[in-house]
Amino acid sequence: MTEHPNDLPAPDLPDRDLDALLAQARALTAEDHGAAARFLTGHRARQVAARQRHARTLRAGWVSAALASAAVVAGLTALRPAPALPSSAAYDAYQSALGEGW
């Protein structure tokens, strides 16, 4: 029978040494804590940056919407003809043409 080359454990490695090696691999070292701290710091920084980006996007959206609304209102105000005066304005002009005493 032919053995597969990846079959573990190696027949020549004793079980005790293998257990020790695995136990060592599971134990957290200072380097592991450092790496985790660095990762978490970066992660938090990325989260803050993402939140700021989102806030900036929201702010920019509101400002754009407000500016657009103001532009629409200004445009409508400028383009819409002034409301018609009441007919009394025409009668006042006629009255002044009539002369005194009427």
Binding site: A90, Y91, G99, E100, G101
Partner: protein
């Protein structure tokens, strides 16, 4: 001979009414000219139904001013003397004035026989409805001296108005006699047929339609025509206006009211 007599009779029949009409008009004009320096005083009732107002009738010590322009009046009105009447207990002669053309207001004026000054006048629409009326209820013992002036129409105003509003159709008999700047912006032009008046306004804003009010937008401006004329006549006068060039009236409009 008989034919000549008939011809003479026909000529007299034709000429007599014309002569009588001219006499009536001359008498009326004489009275209206006298009213510029002499006027009755007392208690008069003044009623104005156009333009409409909350209280149409009031009492005054004198009749309102009537800015008559004799030459235009003679040109535009047929004057007929009616039967004698009394106004406020005084003998008066009534003159009826009917426009020769168009639908302008028709007038009746009562002139004191002794003083030769007006005691009452009345304006009616073509359909007979009263528009304005002023009449003495009581008259003082003697008339008072007055100084009523009617400014002459500036020469060239009609041509300038035609340049300012090309396409404007003047209602029959009416001609411009005065221009003034409008406090709210724009220009007001007064038109008259000798007795009736119209207000022509060039304004930056439109005005709501109403009886006796026509308005039309021309380019960026509005033109109003206001007066006692049928509405279709008012609208027709403005219908052909192609352009507004108020600058053409600039030298005719006096300076506006200052605002210290």
């Amino acid at each position: 001979m008989r034919r000549a007599a008939a011809l003479l009779g026909a000529l007299l029949a034709v000429s007599l009414p014309v002569h009588a009409q001219a006499t009536d008009a001359d008498d009326l004009i004489a009275a209206l000219k006298r009213a510029r320096t002499l006027a009755a005083r007392g208690q008069a009732e003044v009623t104005v139904l156009f333009p409409p107002r909350a209280v149409p009738t009031r009492v005054a010590a004198a009749l309102p001013a009537l800015p008559v322009r004799p030459a235009l009046l003679l040109k535009n009105f047929t004057v007929v003397r009616a039967a004698p009447q009394t106004v406020a207990g005084r003998d008066a002669v009534r003159f009826d004035l009917t426009p020769k053309v168009g639908g302008a207001g028709r007038w009746s004026l009562w002139v004191d026989r002794a003083w030769n000054v007006p005691l009452a006048f009345e304006e009616r629409r073509a359909d007979g409805a009263v528009v304005r009326r002023a009449a003495f209820l009581k008259v003082n013992a003697a008339p008072a001296k007055v100084a009523l002036t009617v400014p002459a129409a500036p020469a060239g105003l009609r041509a300038a108005l035609t340049r300012a509003l090309p396409g404007l159709t003047f209602p029959p008999g009416f001609t411009p006699v005065g221009v003034r700047p409008r406090a709210a912006g724009g220009t007001e032009v007064t038109l008259t047929d000798g007795l009736n008046v119209l207000a022509l306004v060039i304004a930056p804003q439109d005005v709501r339609g109403a009886p006796g009010v026509a308005s039309r937008r021309v380019g960026g401006a509005f033109v109003w025509l206001v007066g006692n004329l049928p509405d279709d006549t008012l609208r027709g006068a403005l219908a052909g206006v192609r352009r507004v060039s108020a600058d053409a009236l600039g030298t005719f409009a006096g300076p506006g009211d200052s605002n210290p």
